[in-house]
């Protein structure tokens, strides 16, 4: 292989000026940064909706929101967070930026398709925001029939938005899988790939095979709304449970699309900051793919009380327990990686350890829901709300913020302030656990979810949770401002500040040149080939 010498050695931020160049770029790094900016904006929007009804729930009586406004806000919190923040989240922002560099390629396989995916995301986001003013959508992000069949214009616009965002997700997954198959640098075998890429590969499989079913569910829901074709609407002889089957066949793989990229980032950060090769590389890599496959066969556990046949309940419960095994493997392997390492508690490592803590609680509270008899009591209560927040917010978003801190020097060429970063990480940890651990107790005590007015005995839990929200919001904003501030007056970042062994740190500059490498790198060692201390 002759090494291509690239004459464009200026970094991608200065390669071309002006908004127009940014909007029509096909450079995966710029698209990744634009995705990152949009996703953080929507994270703040979704968070404010959460904050509004968190304060409303301070007391069971009406504080400042009417029941309709409360219902509208929890719906918008759900839709924005799921479809606009956590599902695209890590793959679109960090995956787009880091994957080609970690693999040693100049760009993704289909750069123009990548830009199309970004524009589909923006169009879908615009329609989702328009649905706020187009009326009041209060059917929850799950859009169950027959409540979502009320031909409420705002609900219909929300469905169109989810439909478009689905295609943006498919195109990202397609780009990643093709790039990983065909464009690896010479010497980069499958087992020399960093685990972040294995997580992107597993996410790509789910994006390609699950999202089209969401597109069909939404088409059928729109047809049901406009023409009343009677597939889902019980009043016309349809079966609302069929809609739940279609919806959860996509939405359960979707929750694994949400959490698996978080695994990838955690593997990178823990290995790098413990200066130790990952324990059981093959087990961790294959457990990501195993979760992707098992994710397709368990969707029925969302419908144990919804009137599913007892046989289907038992089969789904049996299969759901198998998802516990890959997650357990991962958590044990990460913990074993710390053994005999040299652990440096910088900000990314704090977020990674937090991830381990939260994901253990999230995983354990998930497995109890697979026990049929206990799920009858716990279903649709705050226990479920707390479980999926421990996994979606406590694991994915915290790994996402950890990943942003970890790759910030590479992406912007600037170092963020370490002490402010660490305090923010601790604040986020305390705030998150105060907010959501009490909801576990409240849920098992029998407090249903999506309740505007609740029984008085649960007021103390809601108040603790709201206080926790304040701490969490403070921590998140501190981290956000710390990063933005470093963009302007941060110190110049060296090429490899953390001493990592993956391609993006060893070969590419910070920030990388337009085509990532001066000449195509040749890979000679694994992603975590750290040396050991000379005794």
């Amino acid at each position: 292989m002759i090494a291509h010498v690239h004459h464009e050695n200026i970094n991608y931020l200065k390669a071309s000026k002006g908004l127009k160049n940014w909007l029509v770029t096909v450079d995966h790094k710029r698209i990744g940064m634009m995705y990152l900016a949009s996703i953080l904006v929507f994270f703040v929007t979704g968070g404010t909706f959460a904050g509004l009804f968190r304060f409303e729930l301070w007391s069971p009586l009406k504080n400042f929101l009417t029941p309709d406004q409360y219902n509208q806000f929890f719906t918008l919190h759900g839709v924005i967070m799921v479809f606009l923040v956590v599902v695209p989240g890590i793959p679109a922002a960090l995956g787009n930026f880091i994957l080609p560099i970690q693999i040693g390629a100049k760009d993704l396989a289909f750069p123009k398709l990548n830009l199309t995916s970004l524009y589909l995301y923006w169009i879908g986001a615009a329609i989702a925001l328009y649905s706020i003013v187009a009326g009041h959508a209060d059917q929850g992000w799950t859009m169950y029939a027959p409540y979502s069949l009320s031909r409420n214009p705002s609900v219909l616009w929300m469905m169109v938005a989810a439909f478009i965002l689905g295609f943006s997700s498919i195109l990202t997954g397609l780009n990643f899988i093709v790039t990983m198959h065909n464009m690896r640098a010479p010497g980069m075998t499958w087992y020399r790939m960093p685990l972040f890429l294995w997580a992107m590969y597993a996410t790509g499989i789910m994006q390609i095979f699950a999202t089209p079913v969401l597109a069909i569910t939404l088409i059928l829901l729109l047809m049901e709304n406009f023409f009343g074709i009677g597939i889902f609407d019980p009043a016309l002889g349809g079966d609302p449970l069929l809609m739940q089957h279609f919806f959860w066949f996509y939405s359960h793989p979707a929750v694994y699309i949400i959490v698996v990229p978080g695994f990838g980032i955690t593997s990178e950060i823990i290995a790098c900051f413990a200066k130790k090769d990952i324990f059981g590389y093959k087990f961790v890599a294959y457990s990501s793919v195993a979760i992707a496959i098992i994710g397709f066969v368990v969707w029925g556990h969302h419908m144990f009380v919804a009137g599913q046949s007892e046989l289907a309940d038992s089969i789904f419960s049996f299969l759901t327990f198998f998802t516990a095994v890959p997650s357990a493997i991962k958590v044990f392997n990460w913990t074993a990686t710390l053994y005999k390492g040299s652990i440096d508690l910088k900000t990314p490592m704090l977020y990674a350890l937090q991830f381990l803590f939260n994901f253990t609680i999230g995983g354990l509270t998930g497995i109890i829901l697979a026990i049929l008899s206990v799920d009858i009591h716990l279903h649709d209560t705050y226990f479920i709300v707390s479980h999926f927040h421990y996994v979606a917010m406590g694991s994915t978003m915290i790994a996402f913020i950890g990943g942003i801190h970890y790759w910030w020097p590479k992406m912007t060429g600037k170092m963020y302030n370490e002490t402010v970063g660490r305090t923010a990480a601790i604040l986020v940890f305390i705030g998150f656990n105060v907010t959501f651990f009490v909801q576990l107790i409240m849920g098992s005590q029998g407090s249903p979810r999506r309740y505007y007015h609740y029984q008085d005995q649960f007021q103390i839990y809601h108040q603790i949770s709201t206080v926790g929200f304040v701490i969490l919001a403070a921590g998140l904003f501190m981290a956000l401002f710390n990063l933005i501030a470093s963009f302007f007056n941060g110190s110049v970042a060296p090429k490899n500040p953390w001493g990592a062994k993956t391609l993006e740190w060893e070969e590419a500059d910070s920030p990388p040149v337009l085509y990532n490498f001066k000449e195509t790198p040749v890979v000679t060692h694994g992603p975590y080939a750290f040396e050991t201390e000379k005794a």
Partner: protein, 217 residues
């Protein structure tokens, strides 16, 4: 190269690929992944139809009886033949015969439009008989209370398939423009191959759609 003297410019490999083979393999795997998401989309509709068939077989059979299988047979012939001409177009492109490529593409376009004409006629029959889904239903002489749901599935599935036929025809026109802009040869025939793959998918979906809706009655 074959008749490079035809004066059409040669294709050059995109900058971020190293070799032509890598580019072709990437595009082909990318196409197959896109076709996979299309198959999952139609597959979900087939699952809905099969579940409806198991829940209300009588309604499904009664609805299917009222479909004219002859129109379905003509459409099957149109699609299979256009699949043939697309296959021949790929072979012609690999042999570098630009004129034969254009002729085959025009043949496929003609057959595809034939399919759409028959489909439009069939829809007008349905509108005339009033067998439209849901609220628009005002058909006579039907007994099963669920037969309108069959027509709900019928219109969603054939409508989505018809949309994909339209997209396929658009791609054929795009391939025609490419055929007059760049010289195809054994080392570069990607656009034709990809349009042929997409069209074969449209055939594949129709091969399953036709018996499920028309022949089970």
């Amino acid at each position: 190269m074959a008749n490079a003297t035809a004066g059409l410019p040669e294709h050059h490999v995109a900058h971020h690929f190293d070799t032509a083979n890598q580019e072709f393999d990437s595009i082909k795997t990318g196409m197959w992944l896109f076709l996979a998401s299309e198959i999952m989309m139609f597959g979900a509709l087939f699952v809905g139809a099969l579940i409806f068939l198991t829940l209300h077989p009588a309604a499904f059979r009664e609805g299917a009886n009222h479909l004219d299988w002859r129109l379905g047979a003509i459409n099957t012939f149109f699609l299979l033949t256009s699949g043939l001409t697309m296959g021949l177009a790929v072979i012609a492109a690999q042999a570098g015969q630009q004129a034969k490529v254009r002729m085959n593409l025009v043949m496929s376009l003609f057959l595809a439009s034939g399919f759409l004409v028959v489909k439009a006629y069939e829809y007008s029959l349905k509108i005339h008989h009033g067998t439209l889904p849901g609220r628009l239903w005002h058909g006579e002489g039907f007994h099963d209370p669920f037969v309108h749901v069959f027509y709900g599935f019928y219109f969603v599935m054939t409508g989505l398939h018809g949309l994909h036929v339209l997209i396929g025809m658009g791609l054929m026109i795009f391939a025609l423009t490419r055929a007059s802009k760049v010289q195809f040869s054994r080392s570069y025939f990607t656009p034709i191959e990809m349009v042929a793959l997409y069209w074969a998918l449209v055939d594949l979906v129709w091969v399953f759609l036709f018996p499920l809706l028309y022949l089970i009655g």
